[in-house]
Each structure stands twice: as structure tokens, then as C-alpha cells.
């Protein structure tokens, strides 16, 4: 089972308390009615599906109930960091460098 750090509870807890909520930093279009069908498709369905560090949303469903963002390596399944929703993407270079020695 994965252990996930909740940035609101400030505890590292078992995955069973959390639910996955898709890719993070998807910005809602400010004027939805101005979008073409292709742009709608991109917003609704097209995701990056990266191999490696992935910015994604999680929800501490059976706990504080909050959504937060995480960076998880989709190859090793290791969490590089978690941070509250609304914060900018953390710099990937510093995250991978920091996690290097623990490999």
C-alpha cells in the first residue's frame, strides 16, 4: 500500500484513506461558450499520460476531505511531494535531485 503525505493533516497515511482525482493543474476555461469543439475535447478528455513524474490530484476522502496535489513517478510509483491545491507546480529538477539519494 502506498503511504501518502496529506499536506493539510501533515501526516503520512495509508492510501486507503485517499482517492485519486486525475491530473492536476487543468485550468477551467474562463469563457466556456467561446470554446470550439476541439478545444472542449482537449479540456475534457485529453490528458498528458506521462511516463515519469506526474502532477496529479488526490483527495483525503476518509480524513480531512481536502483535495491536494501530488507529484508521483508513474514508473516507480514513488511520491516526490504533495502540496496544497492552488499552489504553483513545484520545480521538478529540485524534486528529483532531492529524492535521488534515497533510491
Amino acid at each position: 500500500m502506498l503511504l501518502i503525505h496529506c499536506p493539510y493533516c501533515n501526516e503520512t497515511l495509508p492510501e486507503a484513506e485517499f482517492t485519486y482525482a486525475g491530473e492536476a493543474h487543468i485550468v477551467r476555461p474562463p469563457d466556456p461558450s467561446a470554446l470550439s469543439d476541439d478545444e472542449w475535447e482537449g479540456f475534457l478528455f485529453i490528458r498528458s499520460n506521462v511516463r515519469g513524474p506526474h502532477y496529479e490530484r488526490w483527495r483525503h476522502m476518509h480524513g480531512c476531505g481536502r483535495f491536494f496535489n501530488a507529484v508521483r513517478d508513474t514508473v516507480s510509483d514513488r511520491f516526490l511531494t504533495t502540496y496544497p491545491a492552488g499552489q504553483p507546480r513545484p520545480d521538478l529538477a529540485s524534486l528529483t535531485a532531492a529524492s535521488e539519494p534515497s533510491k
Binding site: Y8, C9, N10, E15, E17, M61, G63, C64, G65
Partner: protein, 183 residues
């Protein structure tokens, strides 16, 4: 086969050498949602200092509060004080929501020498990470519960009504199995 929910009246559900599970009398329960700036005024209206750290508890005169999330608290009190607290908080001039959820949950008390071990039956969390006098919302065999740790081996578990028969049955079996194991 689950326990009938109508049979979850105050009283002992199961008692073995390992642990005892009993149904608690229903208190008045309130759910409070508010932002940080409103806390001092709400605390004054409710007669306690609302804890700001998730999992922390506070007690006032006949009331008990636990912080469940960054903007969420549950307040326990006696059923006849609920209306008074609702009226007091209505006078607070800050955005907040205080809802009477007295009918939503059933509380089980789990105590006995192996109570913490019994909880590990359905709770993936490290029970020892919850200090005495604190509480957490967590998951127990798929159902969200609020776990209050009152002493080393004494817990309260608030369970939503529809999950209560299943969890009560599970704790019943668990308490018997632990006792059989140590025989």
C-alpha cells in the same frame, strides 16, 4: 448477517477478555464549517476554544469539539443543549455553517486490554499515531468513521447509521477471535 440497526441501543454489544464493544447513548451532534477568522467568535458562542490543528480536541462545559479538517469541526453536547448552541451561534456575525447532525451517527465504545489491536482489524492507519485525548476521521473496513482516543485502550467510534450494523458485526467477530486467540 449483520446486526439489526434497531438493536444498537445503549448497552454492551460484546464483551470478551480481549475487548468490550458497547453502544453509547446518542448525544447531540453538531457539524461546524467556518474559516479561521470566525473561530474566536464561534468559540465564545459555543463556550469552548475551538482547536485549530486537525485531530485536536477541546472540551467546554458539557460540550466537546474535535477538529476534523482545516475548516470543519464536530461538536458533541447533550441533546437538550443543541437548540441553545444553535441559537448562540446564529448571533455570530461571521460566515459559518452549524448544522444539527444528531440523527446521523451511532457511537460505539471500544475498550479492553486489546482494544487498539481490535481496531487494526479494519483501520489501515497506525492506531498509535493517534495520541490519547485526540481523535481522527479515518476509514474502517470501507466506511468513514471518527475515532476518538480517550485512553490507551479506550476508544469511541462515530459511525454513520447505515454502516453501523456491518461494523458492529465486524467488531463483535473481532473481539471474539482475539479472545479465542489468547486462550
Amino acid at each position: 448477517m449483520s446486526i439489526q440497526i434497531s438493536s444498537l441501543t445503549p448497552g454492551v454489544l460484546v464483551e470478551t477478555r480481549a475487548a468490550r464493544v458497547s453502544t453509547q447513548p446518542a448525544p447531540g451532534r453538531l457539524s461546524l464549517r467556518a474559516r479561521k477568522p470566525a473561530l474566536p467568535a464561534l468559540g465564545a458562542a459555543l463556550g469552548l476554544t475551538l482547536p485549530e490543528c486537525i485531530g485536536q480536541r477541546a472540551a467546554g462545559d458539557g460540550t466537546e469539539a474535535i477538529c476534523l479538517g482545516p475548516d470543519e469541526w464536530t461538536i458533541l453536547t447533550s441533546a437538550d443543549l443543541v437548540a441553545g448552541l444553535m441559537a448562540a451561534s446564529a448571533g455570530v456575525d461571521q460566515p459559518h455553517s452549524l448544522v444539527d447532525i444528531s440523527g446521523r451517527e451511532v457511537t460505539l465504545r471500544i475498550d479492553g486490554p486489546r482494544a487498539a489491536e481490535l481496531l487494526s482489524l479494519g483501520c489501515p492507519r497506525d492506531i498509535d499515531g493517534i495520541a490519547v485525548g485526540e481523535g481522527r476521521r479515518t476509514v474502517f473496513d470501507g466506511a468513514t468513521v471518527v475515532l476518538w482516543r480517550d485512553a490507551d485502550n479506550s476508544f469511541r467510534m462515530d459511525i454513520w447509521n447505515s454502516f453501523a450494523p456491518h461494523l458492529a458485526q465486524l467488531l463483535d467477530i473481532g473481539a471474539r477471535e482475539l479472545a479465542a486467540e489468547s486462550a
